[in-house]
Each structure stands twice: as C-alpha cells, then as structure tokens.
C-alpha cells in the first residue's frame, strides 16, 4: 500500500468517514449498466441459487432455483438468465461506427490499415463484489461447452438454445475483467475501493455494506459504527440486516430459512408425483407453487438489499466527474466487445478450456501494458493520484527558473535545451534518468542532467533537465515546445504511453521449448465428459 493510501486510511479512522483517494472517476460507467446480483448454493460449486438482474433499479428481474440440485431447474434458470442478459448485450452489437484497424498483411508481412466497424458503445455488467466476477467466470465456464439439441440431437441433457452463447459472453466478460482498467465487467466494491479509502481492513473492504457505511454513513453515525452494524446486526429472527453481497449466502439464512423451505418444496414435489387423481394433483400443485413462491420471496429478501446497495454505490460514483483518459480505455473495451461479437458471428468455437502457450503469453503481455498504462493515465488525470506518486518520488511539480539553449553533438545539431527547475519535492532521480511531461496531451521526454545550485535560502538544490524531443525538426525548437521560466510543470519518472511488447509467434509455430504447436484440433468443441462423480 502506498504511503498516501496509508495516510488516507489513518485519516478515515480519525474522522470516522472514508477519505477520497481520487478526484475524478477512473472507470467508465455507461448510461445503462446491467446489474447482476447472483447467489450460489452453499456446498455446491457453480450451482446457482438465484439472481436479481436488470438495467432498471426499480424493476429488477428475480430468477430463482427452487431446488438447486435439480439439473432441469438449473437449465431453466440459465435459460432465463440468457433471456435477461443476452438482449442487453445484443442491443449494443449492431450500433456501429466505421473504424480502422492495423493488421499484418499475410502476403507481404507489412502493417496495413483495414476498414472495419466498431461498436459505438458496449454492454456493461456490474456485480456487487469481486466474488461476483469470479462467479460470472464460473457460470461462463459451466455453460459455454454445453450442447443444445440443435448442436447434437443425441446429447443426453440438451441445454436450452441460448445457454452456450451466454456462456461464451460471460467467459469473455470474465476474461476482460482481468485486464487492468477495463470497464466491461465491474465489481461495485472494487470501484468504491478505487475511489475511497476506509478505516477498515482490506478484507472488510470486500463487504459492500460495510464499505458504503464508511463512504456514506447515516446522519449522526460514524462510518466505523455503521460498518460494524452492516457486518453484524441481525433482526429478531437472527437474520443479518445487511445480507452478504454474494454469491455466497449467510449460513444462518441457509440453515434456518432456506433449507426448511427447500425441504418443503421437495416434499410438495414428491407428493405431487405420488398424486393418484387429478383433483389431488391440483391441490398438490398449488402446494408446490406455494413452496416455490416462498423460496422466491426468501431469495428476493436477501438479494434486494444488495441490489439497492449496488445502485447506491453507482450513484456515489456518478457524482465524480469522469477522468479524461477513461474514454481511451473504454475504447479498448469497445474493441474487445466488437472482436468477441465478430468471433461469435463467424461461428468460431467457444473459448478453449485452457489458453495455449502463445495466447497465455499474449494475454499476460497485454495486461502488463494495460497496468502500466492505467497507472500512468490515472496519475495524469487526477492530481490526487499524482500527489501519491510525488510522495513516492515517482513524480514532481517544479517551477522553471531558467532555460539555457544547448544542442546535441552530432553532424546536424538538434536543440537540447537545459531547463532548471526548482522543487521542494524529492524525486528519485539519478544520472540520465528519463522524465516526462504532458505537452498538448503528448508526452515530452527529458533527461535528468544533474543538480543545479541551491536557492538563496539554502533549500533543496534545483534540478537541471535536458529536453530531448517534441521540438520539431528545425534547428530552433518549435514555438511553445520548450518550457519557459515561471512555468509550473508536473514531471513524471514513469512513461505516459506504453509500448506494446514484441510480436509472439503464431500458435502453430510454438517452439520446442514450449511443447511445440498445440496438438491437433484440441477437444475445445467437445462437451465435458461425464464422470461417475457427475451427480448433477
């Protein structure tokens, strides 16, 4: 944790309220995010229990599985989820604008521009917590290899038509969420934690209710008290007032309310199956739907507070103006969204279970670039983030006190002006270290050339910087490209733009050190094999 965040947390403890760690919002929030609050069944990995989903905060759609161990009911749930989520995604797929993309021409090996289209906006999904993102990933994994009756008429348990498609989209969103700075799939707790520091531990910060209590405590109450109440307070029946944001449920809810309700449902089902005549069946059917309604009501009761909390969190975030460079990252998200749309449309198989060596290396390289870019962009967008980097010696603000013209030693001398900068800060500079400033939105590079004289009062020595680029091609630097005395400029020791890594070989050319090309057509398209343990 950086020093400034530690300070913010200490201040939060002292003041009883979360402290802002950002002055702008560093993630895109679209006008119409789809909020998904999923619940899972305790003890059954990947068995969904229910969900609230929708884009209208006042009208969430409740999905519930009355008996989570029943495969048919689970498929019905997933089919309903697909009906709730896919139209949202698809509504963005056809609103496009023309765009250009760099591609390598297979014939010549040269980089060429290709006319293509780019979705104007992308569908955004917001879940309450990081565990929710993990659950989206798990749902995607459990669905994308399923076969429908159309795919294979002989498949023993055909999945409803749109379920595999939903699996592919959720897998894509789950993978994209791993890219630093991306906003396609967001966790509300991550968003809030990025913009506020609370006085509680990182672990407690994963509790959406406690987090909101610190950020926006009820009038007259401190954040710490409100957070404690959010974590522990129970009603007369022993149920948490602020249920966990899921997907896991509170064991007391499971044991005291849910388990008896599911048992009742099971009994009603068994007795319906055993009904001997139509009249008895009617009565028992009513009993069954009564039991189902009861489960739905229970789930709605624990989902709704989280649903409301997510929307409240989004409200708080919307009060912050968006950071300038967020748009740039969102454009990358749109490219990612468009590319996946194209893969689905061109009939490509679902994403493989495991990345091959080349794909894994590519993803890692892309994410490392995105991480470095995110850190730089946040600092450039937000003085408070920059302050943290200044405190860490990775940036500084200084006033230009003198500029001396100098030239490079080459046949065609180029301008290399020496700029003397006064600052009280202590950047971690060494001989030849490169530093950057933003000039008309583009980075200008300078090199640390040494310490200058101290000022009259005997303060810190001034810094001498040699500007090395963005001064035009002429012998004299272009107007406005060299700082002038009196300018106050923020310099960073980190680069503003990230160069992408080297091109990796194609998967078919995976070298011997990495096991050679992936063997044949990998069983990517095959469904999961049935095993004796496969009870569900």
């Amino acid at each position: 944790m950086s020093l400034i965040n530690t300070l913010a947390r200490l201040e939060a403890v002292e003041s009883g309220r979360a402290r802002p760690t950002a002055t702008v919002r560093h993630r895109r929030l679209t006008g119409r995010p789809l909020v998904l609050v999923p619940l899972t069944t305790a003890g059954e990995a990947g068995a969904p229990l229910g969900a609230l989903v929708g884009t209208d905060r006042d009208a969430p759609r409740l999905l519930a599985v009355a008996q989570p161990r029943d495969r048919d009911l689970r498929f019905a749930f997933l089919a309903e989820l697909a009906e709730a989520v896919l139209p949202h995604i698809e509504s963005y797929a056809d609103v496009v604008e023309p765009a250009e993309r760099g591609e390598t021409d297979p014939a010549t090996g040269k980089r060429v521009k290709v006319e293509t289209e780019l979705c104007v906006d992308a569908a955004q999904i917001v879940v309450p917590s990081r565990a929710g993102i993990e659950f989206v990933r798990l749902l995607g994994r459990s669905m994308r290899f399923r076969r429908t009756a159309d795919d294979d008429p002989d498949t023993p348990y055909p999945a409803p038509a749109r379920v595999p498609l939903l699996g592919r989209w959720l897998t894509h969103y789950g993978e994209r969420a791993r890219v630093p700075g991306s906003s396609l799939l967001l966790a509300c707790t991550d968003l809030l934690n990025r913009h506020w520091a609370t006085g509680q531990s990182n672990l407690e910060d994963q509790h959406l209710g406690a987090l909101l209590a610190w950020i926006d405590p009820p009038a007259g109450e401190s954040g710490a008290e409100a957070a404690l109440r959010a974590e522990l307070a129970r009603d007369a029946a022993g149920q948490l007032l602020c249920p966990p944001a899921g997907p896991a449920t509170d064991p007391d809810f499971d044991n005291r309310l849910l388990a008896p309700a599911i048992e009742k449902y099971d009994r009603a089902r068994a007795s319906l199956a055993a009904a001997e005549d139509g009249l008895a069946a009617d009565a028992r059917l009513a009993e069954l739907s009564g039991a189902e309604r009861e489960i739905r009501a229970l789930l709605a009761g624990v989902l709704r507070p989280t649903w409301d909390a997510v929307w409240r969190g989004l409200d708080l975030l919307r009060e912050l103006p968006e950071g300038a460079r967020t748009e740039d990252r969102w454009t990358r998200d749109r490219w990612s969204f468009t590319a996946h749309r194209d893969r689905v449309r061109s009939g490509e198989p679902p994403q493989p279970r495991r990345d091959d060596a080349v794909t894994a290396a590519r993803k890692l390289a892309a994410r490392e670039t995105a991480q470095a870019q995110l850190e730089a962009q946040e600092a450039l967008d937000d003085p408070l983030v920059l302050a943290g980097r200044r405190l860490a010696g990775e940036a500084f603000i200084g006033e230009v006190s003198a500029v001396e013209m100098a030239y490079s030693e080459s046949k065609r001398p180029s301008p290399r002006p020496l700029v003397t900068v006064r600052t009280d800060e202590r950047p971690q500079l060494g001989e030849g270290v490169k530093i950057y400033r933003s000039l008309d939105g583009k980075p200008q590079t300078a090199q640390f050339a040494g310490y200058g004289p101290a000022d009259e009062e005997g303060g810190a020595p001034s810094l001498v910087l040699r500007i090395t680029d963005r001064m035009g091609r002429g012998k004299e630097p272009a107007p406005g490209s060299v700082p002038e005395p009196g300018d106050r400029i923020a310099w960073t020791l980190f680069e503003h733009d990230q160069r992408g890594g080297p091109q990796l070989p194609d998967a078919e050319e995976t070298p011997w050190t990495h096991g050679g090309p992936p063997g044949g057509v990998e069983a990517a398209e095959l469904p999961d094999p049935m095993t004796p343990e496969d009870l569900l």
Partner: protein
C-alpha cells in the same frame, strides 16, 4: 584414506562435461545450474569461444544491457580477434561506450547488419523483435532462471539448440499483474524459462557447477545450506585464504564493532532496537550509511587468492542491498549526506549477478509489522547474502524471528506447480540463526 576436495579439479570436471554435452551432445538443450559466483560468466564465455571455434554460428541471450556489455567485453578480452556482434536497441546510449574501443565488435540495431558474425549478443527483449532471419544453430541463454517463460517463447524460434545457464536460487521472474489463471500450466508465461523448458523437455541433460569462487569459506556453507539444501556447493577458497583488516582501530562504537566482527568472521549483524517503522526507516537507513562510511574511513584492506598484497577496499568494491527502491533511494541520500560516493546502492533485483568485497544489507523484514510473500521470497535474501567476497554486514531491527513465527507462509498451494525448497520462511530462519552468532546491538 579420504580424498581431499580439490575445488579446481571438481569445477574443471563439471565444466568439461557441460562443454562436451554442448558441443557433442544430441539433446536440443543443456541446462546448467550455478550457485552464486560459481564461474557462470566464465563458463558462458568459454562455451561461446569453443562454439565459435567449432564454426557454429552462435547467438547469446542475456537479460540486461549491462550483462550483454559485460559479456562482450569478456569475450573480447579472451579472444580479441573474434568477430562479435552487439545487437542493441534504438534508444539513445544503447550500449556501454567501452565497446567502441573494441576493434572486432560490430554494433547495430539491426540483426541483418550482424549476419555472418561468429557471435551475436543481445538482450532477450531485443532478440524478441528480431524477425525473418535465418535461425542460429546454437544459442546460449544466460541468467535463464531470471528470464520469463514468455520471453523465451518470443526468442526460441531463433535457434535450433541452446545452452541454458542460470542460478535457481536467485529471484524468480515476476509479473506486475496477476497470472494465477495460468499457474500449474507447463507454459505459465510468468514462470521462469527453465521451468517451462524442463516441463516440456524433461530428458535434457542438467549440470551443476559445484564450487563458488566468490563466496568465502565463511559464507558458502550458510548460503548452501539455507538456499540450496539439495544441491550443496563448496567455496573455492578455504578459511584463512581471505582476510579483511582495517588500518584504523575501532573506536568502540557499535558500527565499528560490527565491522570488526564481519572482518573476523565474514558476517556481522547490527541489531537496532525493535520497532515498527515505515519502509524507509530513518534510523536503519542512517545505520547502513554509517557502516559504509566507517568501512571506507577505517581503510579496509582485503587479502585474497587474487593477490598477495592487501588490496584497499574502495567505494567501488562495496555495495548496499535493499528490498525496495525507495529504501535504496533513502540510503543513497543518507550516503550523500555523509559525503560517500561511488558505492553501489540497489535492490536485490538489480544487484543480481554482481560481486563486491563487502556488502551492507538492510534486512528485508527489518521493522516490518508483517511478512508478505514479497519479503519472504527466498531469492531476495539469497541475492543479498551472496554478493560478497569477504564480508557481509546486515542491519536489522530486533524481533524478526518473532515476526517470522507470527507469519508463516500462507500463499495458496497451486496444483501442478513444483514446490520450491526451501521456502522463504525456513531460509530466513536459517540465515537469522547464523547471524545471531555475529550480533552487535546498536543503541539508538
């Protein structure tokens, strides 16, 4: 009769086997594990010369520009006539200016300009951009344990066969983003190049250099036991072969006493009172700077097998090692205040592969309230404790042993990932127990 261990003969035998496998073997790769200071660079230079002499075009992959330049200089020293290519980046000052004075070294940013030279050397990062060239018959990959698997993936298409040389005990490569999703895959891109290579090619011959020429007899057993428990090594010199002495007598201060202890035994622990501190603990930083200052002021002189006359321990023969960059920056500032210049102050990552007479180490766990995986990493402590030819002084707050006991490693176990021995917790305890015998308490 027990055979007397002859370090020179043992090392020579190991080298001969490695060269035989490299020049005459049939396997596509040869892996050499080398403990700190075991003559890894010497081996690389020798293998390069022999491959060149055998008429096999060779590319050498190192990890940093400093390592590349160092290898070029060493090659030119051994064989001034050998045509060597230094492939460099397009940045300003891409290589050490020393190379300009070497007649048969050609420098270029384009691989095509260097085609046909006997040996072409560059960093893994630069090699990764080389495309559309005839593959080299042979490659030497230096510091292969510090190279990431994805970096090897990017360059492996450039060569047919390769000799991989590295130190498994040093810092593992790392990634600035999470790579857990690939943990356990044989080609996990964030793992080391060697682990991927061996996972896919388990039949490759593996060798080990058995003798550390750098570490003194006082340090080799500790480093070997603590960090290489299953692949022990010996020091090439014996007790008494190396001596460190001071021209100026001790003034009785803790700083001077710890220096005397280190000169006498090879190790010194300057222990500050227990306290939780920020990373750049001002007292500890000042103590480190003071140790360096006194070491230089007292006129340290080192006697070793290299020369019979005592060699002065000058600033360039001294290094300060820290865990974090801001700590290194704080030590640099403290040294500047004391008027000390020319001492290398850096993090473990950047001190890897370097050698000094005396090192002063700010213990990674000093003053911390917790022990994270970063601070417990075995390789970090191993690098810091194995850079010296004569003595190592560790500056640390009291209470690290208790801290370790309160924070056993809690990293999740990943399926399919080979567990590394020893774990950092155990290695830290081993080093701490040894250092406790050379403790001097500071009173601040």
């Amino acid at each position: 009769m027990t055979a007397v261990f002859d370090p020179g003969a043992a090392a020579g035998l190991a080298t001969a086997r490695i060269l035989d496998d490299t020049l005459n073997g049939t396997a596509r790769g040869v892996v050499v594990d080398s403990p700190p200071g075991a003559g890894k660079s010497t081996l690389v230079v020798r293998a390069a010369l022999e491959l060149a002499a055998a008429g096999r075009p060779l590319m050498v992959v190192a990890q940093t520009n400093a390592q590349v330049d160092d290898l070029v200089v060493r090659l030119a020293e051994k064989e001034p006539e050998l045509p060597v290519g230094r492939l460099h980046s397009n940045d300003p000052d891409p290589y050490d200016k020393v190379l300009d004075g070497l007649e048969h070294v050609r420098k270029s940013a384009k691989a095509a300009d260097l085609a046909g030279l006997d040996v072409v050397i560059s960093t893994a990062a630069k090699w990764a951009h080389v495309k559309n060239v005839e593959p080299w018959g042979h490659a030497i990959v230096d510091e292969a344990y510090q190279m990431r698997s994805d970096a090897l993936l990017a360059v492996a298409g450039l060569f047919e066969r390769a000799l991989f040389v590295g130190d498994p005990g040093q810092l593992d490569p790392f990634s600035i983003v999470g790579a857990d999703q690939w943990a356990g895959l044989s080609y996990d891109p964030s793992a080391s190049a060697v682990s991927t290579l061996l996972a896919h090619n388990p039949e490759l011959p593996q060798h080990r250099l058995p003798v550390s020429w750098r570490l003194p007899a006082s340090a080799a057993p500790l480093v070997s036991d603590a960090f290489y428990p299953y692949t022990p090594f010996r020091s090439g010199t014996d007790h008494g072969d190396r001596r460190l002495s001071f021209g100026v007598a001790s003034d009785g201060s803790a700083t001077d006493r710890v220096l005397d202890e280190a000169a006498e035994s090879g190790w010194g622990l300057l222990e500050l009172p227990a306290r939780h501190t920020p990373r750049t603990d001002p007292e500890a930083v000042r103590a480190v700077a003071l140790v360096v200052r006194r070491l230089l002021d007292r006129g340290g002189a080192a006697v070793s097998e290299r020369s019979t006359d005592p060699a002065p321990v000058t600033a360039d023969r001294v290094a300060v090692g820290t865990a974090h960059r801001d700590q290194a920056a704080a030590v640099r500032a403290a040294l500047a205040e004391l008027g000390v210049t020319g001492v290398a102050v850096d993090t473990a990552n950047r001190l890897q592969g370097r050698e000094f007479d005396v090192t002063v180490v700010l213990h990674p766990l000093s003053g911390r309230p917790d022990a994270t995986a970063f601070h417990l990493e075995t390789g970090r402590l191993c690098v810091l404790a194995s850079r010296h030819r004569h003595a190592c002084v560790v500056v640390c707050r009291e209470g690290v042993a208790d801290l370790l006991d309160e924070h056993p490693s809690t990293e999740p176990v990943q399926l399919g990932v080979t567990v590394k021995f020893p774990d950092g917790w155990e290695a830290n305890h081993a080093v701490l127990a040894h250092l406790a015998e050379h403790r001097v308490r500071a009173t601040c």
